[in-house]
C-alpha cells in the first residue's frame, strides 16, 4: 500500500500552530506531525497485514494469524480516522476563534 504518497500532501493543507515562531515549536507538536505519525502507524500495520495475507496465500502463515493481522490493520485505521477527525475538529475550532 502506498499511503506514504498521501502523507506528503497532508502537511501542505495544515499549517503549524504557534504562529510564525516555528523554531520554538517542539518537534511533533504540530497538527501535521501528529497526522504524519498516525499515518506511519497505519502504514506499518498495513504492511504487516500484507505480509500475513501473502504468507497465507503461499501457505506459510496460518489463517488465524492472517485474519488477526487484518483486524489489527482495520482497528489501527479506524483509530487513525478518529484521530484525524479530532485533529481537524480542533484545527477548525482554533481557526474559528475570534481575535
Amino acid at each position: 500500500m502506498t499511503i506514504d504518497a498521501l502523507k506528503g500532501r497532508i502537511p501542505s493543507g495544515l499549517p503549524k500552530v504557534g504562529g510564525g515562531d516555528a523554531a520554538t515549536t517542539p518537534a511533533g507538536a504540530g497538527f501535521s506531525d501528529a497526522l504524519g505519525r498516525v499515518v506511519d502507524a497505519v502504514e506499518s500495520t498495513e504492511s504487516q497485514a500484507n505480509t500475513a495475507v501473502s504468507g497465507m496465500l503461499s501457505g506459510t502463515t496460518d489463517v488465524h494469524d492472517a485474519m488477526i493481522a487484518l483486524q489489527r490493520a482495520d482497528l489501527t485505521l479506524q483509530f487513525s480516522v478518529q484521530i484525524r477527525n479530532k485533529l481537524v475538529q480542533a484545527y477548525n475550532e482554533i481557526m474559528r476563534m475570534p481575535i
Binding site: D62, H64, D65, I68, Q71, R72, L75, Q78, F79, Q82, N85, K86
Partner: protein, 143 residues
C-alpha cells in the same frame, strides 16, 4: 492496545497449538488400520505435549506482560501395547495368523478431536471479544 495485544498473541498461540492437536488426532484416525510404516512396523499413536511460553511483546520486554501463550513442546509416540486381530489372510499376519494393528482407538481420537475443536472455538471467541472491546473503545471517539 498494548496489553490487549499480548492477549491476542496468547490466543493466537493457542489457536496454533489446537490446530496441531487436531492435525495429530486426524493422522491417528487416518492410520488406525495402518500395519506398515516407513520402518516396516505398524503405526504408533501420537500425542501432542503442550507447554507455556511467554508471548513476545512490548509489554513482555517491560516485564509486565499479563498473558502467557502456549506452544507445542513435542509430538511423542504412545508406547502402549498394539492391538492384535486374528486375520490369517492378511499379508502382515504373523505365523499364528494375528495382525498387529496400531494402538489407536478411533473413539478416543474422536473425543480428542472434539475437545481440540471446542478449545479452538473458545480461543476464537476470546480473540473476537478483545476485538469487540477495542472497537467499543474506539466508538468513544464518535459524535
Amino acid at each position: 492496545m498494548s496489553t490487549l495485544g499480548s492477549a491476542v498473541r496468547a490466543g493466537a498461540s493457542a489457536l496454533a497449538a489446537e490446530r496441531m492437536r487436531i492435525e495429530v488426532a486426524v493422522s491417528n484416525l487416518a492410520n488406525a488400520e495402518s500395519t506398515r510404516g516407513p520402518d516396516g512396523q505398524p503405526y504408533k499413536r501420537r500425542d501432542v505435549v503442550l507447554q507455556t511460553t511467554t508471548v513476545q511483546d512490548f509489554d513482555d520486554s517491560l516485564g509486565r506482560a499479563t498473558a502467557v501463550g502456549v506452544e507445542v513442546a513435542a509430538v511423542v509416540e504412545d508406547q502402549g501395547p498394539a492391538r492384535r486381530r486374528f486375520e490369517p489372510s492378511h499379508p502382515d499376519a504373523d505365523k499364528d495368523g494375528y495382525v498387529t494393528l496400531p494402538n489407536v482407538d478411533p473413539a478416543e481420537e474422536m473425543v480428542d478431536m472434539l475437545g481440540a475443536a471446542r478449545a479452538y472455538q473458545a480461543n476464537l471467541t476470546a480473540i473476537g471479544l478483545i476485538r469487540d472491546l477495542v472497537q467499543r473503545a474506539l466508538d468513544l471517539g464518535r459524535g
